[in-house]
C-alpha cells in the first residue's frame, strides 16, 4: 500500500513538473490545454540534457533546427470546365507539393521558408509581388496568413475562411466589374447564391458606406477582425487600420512566382497580434498560412456568354515572362480571384502556432538606467538581454545605446558612460586604465539580395574576395556612363556583376549594369566593423596591391581618388570628387560628385539591413521635381523590382539572422597549385575557428584577431568574426556603477551565452562564449575584467606592461565566485527550453554571482503559507491520534 502511494505521488510529481514547465517558460511546443497530461510529461522529460548537448557542428549560425515542426503536403489540382454537352473537360492537372520549414513556436515577423513543386509555371512576373502589386500576374502561387485553421473538429469561429485572410488592400479582396468580366460568377464550383450579381456580404452595406453601381457585378470579401468587427472592404476607408498602402511596414502576402520547372520558394513573414492586431494571431489564437497555387478558374456550362469566354482564358503571357509595367493579364488565371471557390478549394492550409512573446521591461520602472554606449554589433543581443536585468530587483536597468565605437570609448573614458562596447583596443588617451571584458563573439556580414536571370529565383550563394570588396569600396566601378567619364575608370567594368573576376566566382548571374551594383552600401560613421573589413582587405595580397594601384589581370584599376589609401581604417571616406558633364537639365542644376552619390553610406548598420531587406539601394541619383515649374532635385532611387534585384550591404550578423538576410561567403584562401580557393560563410564553426586564433588579450588589452594570421593559420575561419568587449574604467567609477558593470559582464558571459530567443538568451548571429573550448580564453578574461572593474584598483602590475603574461590570463586570477557548475549550459540552449535539468544548471550559475539579496516578500509568501499549511496538515491528524490514544488510555 505504502509503496503504491509513493509511486502515485512520484508520477504526479512528474506530471506536475511537466505541466508547470511550459507555464513558466517559453515553450514553443506547448501542449494545448486539453491534451492528456501523461503524454507531454513523457515527451518533456524524454529529451533531457543529452540531446541538448548535441549541437550539430557546422550548423547554420546558432539557428535551432526545427525539422520536427516542418510542414509538407501534396495535392492534385485540376482545372476542368464543363463543356457545352455537359461533359467535363480537364484542361490542366498537376500534383503540387507545398513545404514550410517551421510552423511552431513562432514569433512576430519571423520568416518562414515556403517552397513548392509541381505548380503551373507563372507568367507576367510583377516587379513587386507583395500586396496589390502582385495582382497583374498569371498562374502565381498566392500565400496569405489567415486566422483560424482548416479543421472540422474546431468550432466554426476558429475555422479559416477568405474573410479571415489578411490582405493589405481592398483591391485584393473586393471587385466591382461589368458582367462580362465577372468571371467568378461562372465558377463551376460556386454555389447558386455565389453566382448572384452582388455577393460576399450580407446584409449589403449602405450606399453611404459602400457606394455601389446597380448594373455592375460586385463581390466583397469582408475582413473579420479578431475583435469580431466586420470591415466591408469596399474602399480603403472600410479596411482594417493595419491596411494602409505606402506604410512603412510592407505587405507580407504575396502572389509568388513559379519557375519553368514548377518550383518556387519565398521567405514568408508571419505577423503576430503585436504587428497586426486585427488579424490577431497569437499563442491563444490559432492561425494558418494558406497557399493557393492558381490553376485558373474552372468554368460552368453556359459557354455562350462573353463572361464564360473570359472565364476559360488560359493566360496571354508566356511562362517566365516579366510584367514590370503591370500590363493586363487574363483575370481567370490571375491571383485576383483567389477567394473564388475553384481557387479557394485548391488551398493548402498550414496551421501555425505562435510562441509566447518574450517578457519585457516595464516602462514605469523608474530606476535610472545604467547606460552602456557603443557597438551596433551588440544590438540584437542587448535587446534580448535587457529584460533579464530590468526584471530583477537585484540587478539594474541595463541599456545599450548605439554609438560609433571610438566616440563611445571616449565618452566612457570621460565618465559619460558606465561602459563602452567596442571590438578592439582603443587608444588609451586618458590616464585612467580601462579593462576589456569579452561579452560576445559575432561579426559583420556582406549581405545580398540577388535574383537570378529569367525569373528563376534568388541566388542562394554569393562569393566575394577581398579585392572585389576593395573595388566596391574604392568606387572603382563607374556605375554608368556618367561615371565612365572619370579619368582612370574608362576601362573598368561598369559594375560588380560585369566584372570578369566576379563572374568567375559567381557564374550564371545577370550582367546588366546597374548603379546599385557598382557599390556596397556601407557605414558613414566610424566603426570597428569598417576597421575589420578594411583589415581583411589589407591582409590580402591581391587586394592590397589593387588599392596601391596594381591592375587586376583583366586590367581593372583602382579609382585614382582612393589609390594607396591607408588601410585598415575605422572610417571609410568619400574621396571621389569627380562631377561628370551632363546634358541633362537636372544634372546641370545639381552638380555633385557622382560616385559619392552612388555610394551614399548611411549612419547605422541597421538601416543597411533594412535597405537590403527591402531591396532598396540608397543610391541618390534619381532626378525628380514636383511640377514642371519646380527645380530638379536628386533623391534616392526606386526599390528594385523582384526578379531584377541586385544589391549588397554591410550588416551585423545579428541583424542578418534577425531579418533572414542572405550572407556572402568570403574568400580565405587563394587558389594555388591544384587547390581551389576557399570561401567561408559566417557559420558558428567558422566563427569558432577564427576566435581560436584570438591572441594576446589581457585585462587592459583587447585580443588581437589578426587577419594575416587568420589567412595563414586558419583558412576555415570567417574573416568577419569580431569580439565585442565591454570596456570600463578600472579606476574612478562609482561603487554602484562598477558593481553594475561587473555584474553585467558576469551575467552576459554565463547565462547570457545560452542560445535562444527568450529573455536573457543569446540570439542567433552570435557564437556562445563558453568556459571551455575555443572561447575559454575569452571567458577567463571576462571574469578577470569583471573582478578588476568591481575592485576599481587600476591595472594590477601595470608597470611591467611589456611582460608577456597573456598566455595564461586566468591562471592566477581568483576562481569565479560561482560554484563550478557544469558549464555545458551555453550549448544546452540550442534545444527548446523544456527540460528541467538544464534549467536547474543555469539557475545555479546565474544566481550565484549576484549575491544573496533577499527575494521580495511576495515571492516567498506563497511557499511560506503553503509550508505552514503543510505543518498544520501534518499536525492535525497526529494531534487527533494523540488525543484519541490518550482518551483510549
Amino acid at each position: 500500500m505504502r509503496r503504491r502511494l509513493v509511486r502515485g505521488g512520484l508520477a504526479l510529481l512528474v506530471v506536475a513538473t511537466a505541466v508547470v514547465g511550459p507555464g513558466f517558460r517559453l515553450a514553443p511546443l506547448a501542449q494545448p490545454a486539453g491534451a492528456a497530461p501523461a503524454q507531454p510529461a513523457e515527451a518533456a522529460l524524454a529529451q533531457p540534457a543529452g540531446a541538448a548537448l548535441a549541437q550539430p557542428a557546422g550548423a547554420a549560425l546558432a539557428r535551432a533546427a526545427a525539422a520536427s515542426s516542418a510542414y509538407g503536403a501534396s495535392k492534385t489540382l485540376t482545372r476542368a470546365h464543363v463543356a457545352a454537352d455537359g461533359t467535363t473537360e480537364v484542361v490542366d492537372e498537376r500534383k503540387v507539393t507545398v513545404r514550410v520549414d517551421q510552423t511552431t513556436g513562432l514569433q512576430g515577423r519571423q520568416r518562414l521558408r515556403v517552397s513548392w513543386t509541381g505548380a503551373h509555371p507563372s507568367a507576367a512576373r510583377a516587379a513587386n509581388p507583395y500586396g496589390e502589386g502582385g495582382m497583374a500576374q498569371e498562374y502565381p502561387v498566392v500565400i496569405l496568413q489567415c486566422r483560424g485553421v482548416d479543421s472540422a473538429s474546431v468550432p466554426a469561429s476558429q475555422r479559416l475562411s477568405p474573410e479571415t485572410c489578411w490582405t493589405s488592400t481592398r483591391q485584393q479582396r473586393s471587385q466591382m466589374v461589368t458582367e462580362r468580366a465577372a468571371i467568378w460568377r461562372k465558377d463551376r464550383a460556386a454555389s447558386t447564391g455565389e453566382r448572384e450579381q452582388k455577393t460576399g456580404i450580407s446584409p449589403w452595406p449602405s450606399a453611404k458606406v459602400c457606394p455601389d453601381v446597380d448594373f455592375m457585378s460586385t463581390h466583397l470579401t469582408p475582413f473579420v477582425a479578431r475583435s469580431g468587427k466586420v470591415f466591408p472592404a469596399c474602399s480603403s476607408e472600410t479596411m482594417p487600420p493595419e491596411a494602409a498602402t505606402g506604410a512603412s511596414f510592407p505587405p507580407a502576402e504575396i502572389a509568388a512566382f513559379t519557375d519553368l520547372e514548377g518550383k518556387g520558394e519565398v521567405q514568408y513573414e508571419v505577423r503576430s497580434a503585436v504587428e497586426n492586431e486585427s488579424l490577431g494571431c497569437s499563442r491563444s489564437v490559432r492561425c494558418s498560412i494558406v497557399v493557393i497555387p492558381i490553376m485558373g478558374i474552372s468554368c460552368g456550362r453556359d459557354a455562350a456568354t462573353p463572361a464564360d469566354e473570359e472565364c476559360r482564358k488560359p493566360g496571354q503571357w508566356t511562362a517566365g515572362s516579366s510584367n514590370s509595367a503591370s500590363l493586363g493579364v487574363d483575370a481567370a488565371v490571375s491571383p485576383s480571384y483567389w477567394w473564388s471557390e475553384s481557387n479557394w478549394k485548391g488551398r493548402f492550409s498550414v496551421p501555425l502556432s505562435f510562441g509566447l512573446p518574450p517578457d519585457a521591461c516595464n516602462v514605469l520602472d523608474s530606476r535610472a538606467p545604467v547606460a552602456f554606449y557603443g557597438s551596433e554589433l551588440l544590438s540584437q543581443a542587448a535587446l534580448q538581454w535587457a529584460p533579464a536585468y530590468c526584471l530583477r530587483k537585484d540587478r539594474f536597468k541595463f541599456q545599450h545605446n548605439r554609438m560609433a565605437d571610438d566616440v563611445a570609448f571616449t565618452l566612457m573614458q570621460g565618465g559619460g558612460a558606465a561602459a563602452a562596447f567596442v571590438s578592439r583596443g582603443h587608444a588609451d588617451e586618458g590616464a585612467t586604465p580601462v579593462g576589456y571584458a569579452p561579452v560576445a563573439v559575432t561579426g559583420f556580414a556582406v549581405s545580398y539580395v540577388v535574383d537570378k536571370p529569367g525569373n528563376t529565383g534568388e541566388a542562394l550563394r554569393l562569393r566575394l574576395n577581398a579585392r572585389l570588396l576593395a573595388k566596391l569600396l574604392t568606387q572603382s566601378y563607374p556605375a554608368s556612363y556618367s561615371g565612365r567619364q572619370r579619368p582612370g575608370l574608362e576601362k573598368n567594368p561598369l559594375s560588380l556583376n560585369t566584372d570578369p573576376e566576379f563572374i568567375a566566382l559567381n557564374p550564371g548571374l545577370d550582367k546588366q549594369a546597374r548603379e546599385a551594383t557598382a557599390t556596397v552600401l556601407s557605414l558613414s560613421e566610424s566603426s570597428d566593423v569598417i576597421r575589420t573589413l578594411t583589415a581583411y582587405i589589407a591582409a590580402d595580397r591581391d587586394a592590397a596591391a589593387f588599392v596601391k594601384g596594381k591592375a587586376d589581370r583583366w586590367g581593372m584599376k583602382v579609382n585614382p581618388a582612393y589609390r594607396a589609401i591607408g588601410l585598415p581604417r575605422a572610417e571609410w571616406p568619400l574621396k571621389d570628387t569627380f562631377v561628370p558633364r551632363s546634358e541633362l537639365e537636372c544634372r546641370k542644376e545639381n552638380p555633385a560628385p557622382y560616385l559619392s552619390q552612388v555610394a551614399a553610406p548611411v549612419s547605422s548598420l541597421r538601416k543597411i539591413a533594412e535597405a537590403v531587406l527591402d531591396a532598396w539601394p540608397n543610391v541618390q541619383t534619381r532626378c525628380e521635381r514636383a511640377t514642371m515649374s519646380d527645380p530638379w532635385k536628386l533623391g534616392r532611387i526606386e526599390r528594385q523590382g523582384v526578379g531584377n534585384r541586385f544589391m549588397i550591404g554591410i550588416v551585423t550578423l545579428g541583424d542578418a539572422e534577425r531579418f533572414g538576410l542572405r550572407t556572402a561567403e568570403l574568400q580565405t584562401q587563394r587558389a594555388s597549385g591544384g587547390r581551389p580557393a576557399r570561401f567561408v560563410a559566417p557559420t558558428s564553426t567558422a566563427l569558432k575557428a577564427a576566435v581560436r586564433e584570438a591572441d594576446g588579450g589581457t585585462l587592459g588589452k583587447a585580443f588581437t584577431l589578426d587577419p594575416t594570421t587568420l589567412r595563414a593559420e586558419a583558412p576555415r575561419a570567417y574573416p568577419g568574426t569580431m569580439i565585442v568587449y565591454a570596456a570600463a574604467r578600472l579606476e574612478g567609477l562609482a561603487k554602484k556603477q562598477a558593481g553594475d558593470v561587473a555584474q553585467f559582464i558576469e551575467v552576459a558571459t554565463r547565462r547570457g551565452q545560452r542560445v535562444g530567443t527568450g529573455n536573457g538568451d543569446l540570439p542567433p548571429g552570435y557564437l556562445p562564449i563558453t568556459r571551455t573550448g575555443a572561447t575559454a580564453d575569452l571567458y577567463a578574461s571576462a571574469q578577470e575584467a569583471a573582478d578588476a572593474i568591481r575592485a576599481q584598483k587600476g591595472l594590477p602590475g601595470s608597470a611591467d606592461e611589456g611582460d608577456d603574461k597573456s598566455d595564461t590570463p586566468a591562471a592566477d586570477s581568483p576562481a569565479p565566485s560561482a560554484p563550478a557548475a557544469p558549464l555545458a549550459v551555453p550549448t544546452a540552449a540550442a534545444t527548446p527550453p523544456t527540460k528541467s535539468s538544464a534549467v536547474a544548471t543555469t539557475r545555479a550559475v546565474t544566481t550565484a554571482p549576484t549575491g544573496d539579496t533577499p527575494a521580495p516578500l511576495a515571492g516567498i509568501a506563497l511557499p511560506l503559507l503553503l509550508g505552514l499549511a503543510m505543518v498544520l496538515g501534518v499536525a492535525a491528524p497526529a494531534a487527533k491520534q494523540l488525543v484519541q490514544r490518550r482518551s483510549r488510555r
Binding site: F249, A273, N401, S596, V839, R843, L862
Partner: protein, 536 residues
Amino acid sequence: MTPALRRLHLRTWVVVLAALLTAFTLVLRTASPAQAAYAQIEGSGSTWSELIVRQWIADVDAMGMKVTYSSGGSSQGRKNFAQNVTDFGISEIPYQGVDEYGAADTAGKRAFAYLPIVAGGTAFTYQVRVGGKLVKNLRLSGDTIAKIFTNKITDWSDAAITKDNNGRKLPSLRIIPVVRSDGSGTTAQFTTWLDKEHPKVWRPFFGRSGLTSYFPRKGTAIAASGSDQVMNTISGDAGNGTIGYVEYSYPVSKKFPVVKVLNKAGYFVEPTEHNVAVALTKARINENKSSPLYLTQILDGVYRATDKRAYPLSSYSYMLLPTGAKDQRMTTAKRQTLVDFMFYSLCEGQSKAGPYGYSPLPLNLVQAGFAQLAKLGTADKGVNVKNRDARRCNNPTFVKGDLSRNHLAEIAPQPAACDKVGAGPCGTAPAADTGATDKPKAGAQPTAAAAPGAAAPSAGAAPQVAASTDPETGQPVAAAAVVDPESIAGVPTELTSSALGDRKEWFGAIAMLELLLIVTVPGALALYFRRRGAAR
C-alpha cells in the same frame, strides 16, 4: 477498513490532488503576459530628430513595444500622417495650411495634437581645409550665415568671415552651401530664422517672405536628400569648401566641426545641450489649450536671447499624435503603445539627449506632453495613462520644486573670453574635439570630459553619477530603485518572467511541492495512524 475502501480513499486523494494541480497551473498560465497589450505603431518624418528617435525605438523594443520609423523628412511625415498612412508623424514645424507647391499641408480630417519630443540646435557643419588640415574653430555671425546661404558671400576669404574670426583670414576657397533637397523641417527651421532675423537678405533671394521646407537651391549650392546625405556631402573629400545645416547630433557622431554662431550677447557659441537649453528658456510656447497650435513654438525670443551662452538656432521637434476617438488607424493597443513609447521618450529618454547631440526638454514641457498623451486616454477608456510623474524621469533639467526651471540652463558653463566678439578666436591650435575651445569656467562641474562635442558633463552620466552625489537633482538612488507596484497594461508581472530562470521559479516549484505534500502527507499519515490503531 477494507483494502478496497482504502484504495478508494487513495484514489480520492489522487483525484483531488490532480484537480488542485490543474487549478494551480491555470492560475500560473493566466498570469503570463497579456497578449497584444501593445501593438506595432508606425511613423515617419523628420531626419533632424531621427538619431535620438531611433535610439528610443531600440530602447522600448526591450519593453515589448514595436515601433517603426522611416525618415523621409518632416514634410513627408506630415503628409503621411494626414493620409492615414502612419500612426504618428514627426515634424519640426506645424502644418502650414498650404505647401510650397500649393497643395494642402493640413492633417485633413484627422484629429491630432502636437507633442514636443526633444530639443536641439540646428548646427552649421563645414569642411574648410588649410594646408590639408581641417579648420575646427570657425565662427560666424548670423548675417554672414544668411549671406552665405543666399549666395551673397561666396568665398571663405570674404572680409565678413575674416571679421567674424577676429581678423583671421581663411584662404580663398569657393563656398559651397549644402542644402536639403527633400521637404525638410530642418530647412523650415533655418528659413524661419532667416526670415525673422535677416529678412533683407532672405526675402529677395527666396522671392517672397516666410519659411520654406524646400530650400531654393541656386548657384553653386548642392542639394542632398536627408541629413545623412548632407553630412556625406560635407565630410567627403569633395566637400572642401562646403557648409550645410543639420541637427547637431550629425556632426557629433561624425566628429565633424560646427560653426560657433554669434548670439545677441556678443559671443560665438556651439549648439551644446547646455547652450540650447539656455536659449530655449526664451521660447514662447503656445499655452492656449484650445488653440490648434497648442504647445508649438515661437522662437523670436530664442533668436534674440541675450544670455552669453544662448545658441540662437535652438528649437523643439514635435510628434503628431492622433487623438481622435474614432481615428481609423487607432486601437486600444496602439494607443497604449503610443502613450508608453512617448512616456519613455519624454521621461527617461531625455537623459541621453546630451550624449547624442540634443538637449533634453524642460520638465514643464514634459508635463504638458504628458497632458497631451492623456488625450489618448480620453479618446479611449481602455488606455492606461496613470502613474506618469515627470519628476521621476531622471531628467537632467529637473530642479526640485520648480518644473519650469531648467537645471541644465542654470549650470551651463559660460563661454570662454576668447569666444567674444573682438577676442580670440579660441583654439587656434586645431583641437581634437571642440571641447578644448570653451573650457568651463567657475560654477561648472569639473570634468575631464572629452565627451562628443559637449564640453560639460554629459547628460548620460548625470542620472547615474549625479543621482548619488548631487543633491540638486533631488533624485536619490534609493528612491529610484522603487518599482511601481501597479503594472501597466499587462506588462509582465512577477510570475511571468518566462525564460529568466530566476528564483521565482524556485519558489513556484517549492510551492508546488508543498502543495503536493499538503495533499498527500496528511492522508498518508492518517492512513498510517489508522493502520496502527487497527493493528493494536
